[in-house]
Symmetry: C4
Subunit: 191 residues, 4 copies
């Protein structure tokens, strides 16, 4: 089974997710700069989520690029990932409109955590399908960054309930960690 | 006539359908977990429809993968399928916002039934175009699951008017039945 | 310059246009069949526009399939076509919500007319780029259906102001005329 | 790393941006031509932004066509461009709904300016990756139009605060300047 349509469908869903989030930036009625002030938290959470979806697209791109074929399990692992990412606009808007209140910030982390777990499942399904000595399996390797991200998300979810701004910083930290595309894959492919 | 753009257009429409459904998950004004409680039925119906659109994409992917060419009748059968699927966000939202009330649950089944009929028409048009002894025609075969789905949908539509929750279970049953991609096609292609 | 991205971008825009129209089908608050009754005009106009966008996609698919290359003029003629088609959701909703009142029905025709003019410009730009004795130029030929459509649209726009339902029938007539994909192109290509 | 998915993802995002802007053209309640009158500023700003996104798609298409490969820096420069362009629907709606009031017109210019800066960064990243004597680097050349655009945007942002209509004319001037696709690239590639 070819991977072309899986990539095309994922690209479509990710492109729509990243774009419809901007619809939550409701146009204010006034025409002065002060009328934009209440939008800052919504804008900030939009920026964070835009970067996250960009990271997912980027790493998804790299990982699928290294893959040569897909099967049913991979298709469904990919659907699961897209499902959690499809909830990002909702939690982004909830967090932004409530000015980073504790529960919305924690729920944002829960969705990020579940998306990251799904991405790990997808990576494992791809590695299993290509064999443990495949380039892809070696490229994914010990996945230190993936495990660290999961741990930071869990920490941030707990922290959010008392110090939501610290949780926001932790989400930003994970984003910064991932802004560099997955060099492991580039390195192994370059061999 | 090549099948590439038919796949691309279908991928686009399905990606948008699956993603705009999340816009019905209206962001609540409060910032506590209790504020999310009224969203449960909307969320549940979103999950069900997400899985259904995922199944359609998956099986559409498999079926078109086995096809080698398309004609005008196939293009229009595909449009008909996309039309009924484009109504899924509407019936999903109606069902969710009315907490699985009888008529909305029945209408949800009507749309699923008509989408399934359109899918059957598309499958027949593809089989006819490729010849009755083609791999594709043999792969589609007796289509037991397709016929069973149609029967269950009809049952669920009637049941919905008195026991909407049972109808919901029947829709879930069909989804589970289809979660496995169409092995027939994989098997015949592997020969 | 290759035609691949022109097709991909057009597919994307058309897929979004056809799908966001369904967002105008606002979910009613009640849960009975009667609550759906006021939606009939909106649904009818949705069906008509879905078919029209489907026809445009279909014919665009055929025409570009016959083309082998594009230039700047073709890109902009295509943008112009997409611009008028992007207004279809707006006029569809206005016509539906006003129960096929005279002015909205006339404006619907104006947008269809301008989209058809843009399609003709695109066809001419493609024919000019491929040469007057190219397969594509011969396939497009005298374009009887295109000219007839323009005449019917103009008639319908005038008629709409006094007999909007007759105008609606004329729009339906043009749609039926085009439901068959452009055989000319298939015929010439098959030679 | 291949450029195919970068093009596909960008096409998707640009197609969605260009299409969701039309959702700001809210359907009026009345059914007469006068009911459309208040929509003129929104429509005008929609037309301007539609042309701008079309220009970006067009030039992006040309530039990537001339590229043969991408790297991580290019992917992120592209994300940055898409981010600023994703804000176009917001500033378009704000400018239109406030009838081209000073601050919204200035902010529209700020977003255009930042998008143009991001495009320049993307162009430089592509040129750097392909080498300073590559076709692409020579095709991008001194980039007179790019620099002139940046200067006009900055002028327009200042002008907007006192003469918003003049700023609108300056934005239109830049659009006209770019309506012709980037001949430099075509010329160098044709060598």
């Amino acid at each position: 089974m070819s991977k072309g349509r899986l990539e095309a469908f994922s690209d479509g869903v990710l492109a729509i997710i990243i774009t419809i989030m901007v619809l939550e930036l409701k146009v204010p009625h006034g025409a002065s700069l002060e009328d934009l002030t209440p939008l800052w938290p919504v804008f900030l959470s939009y920026v964070l989520s835009f970067i996250y979806i960009g990271i997912y697209w980027n790493n998804h791109h790299h990982m699928l690029h290294a893959a040569s074929r897909v099967n049913g399990a991979i298709l469904w692992a990919n659907q699961l990932l897209l499902f959690w990412l499809s909830l990002v606009p909702f939690v982004t808007a909830w967090m932004g409109e409530n000015h980073f209140a504790p529960v919305p910030v924690a729920l944002y982390g829960v969705v990020l955590f579940l998306a990251a777990v799904s991405y790990t499942i997808l990576a494992r399904a791809l590695a299993a399908h290509h064999g443990s000595d495949s380039k892809l399996a070696r490229a994914l390797g010990a996945d230190f960054k993936g495990k660290a991200s999961l741990a930071i998300y869990l920490t941030a979810i707990v922290v959010a309930l008392t110090l939501p701004w610290l949780a926001g910083l932790l989400y930003t930290l994970v984003a910064v960690m991932w802004l560099v595309p997955d060099r492991r894959i580039e390195r192994v492919l370059a061999e």
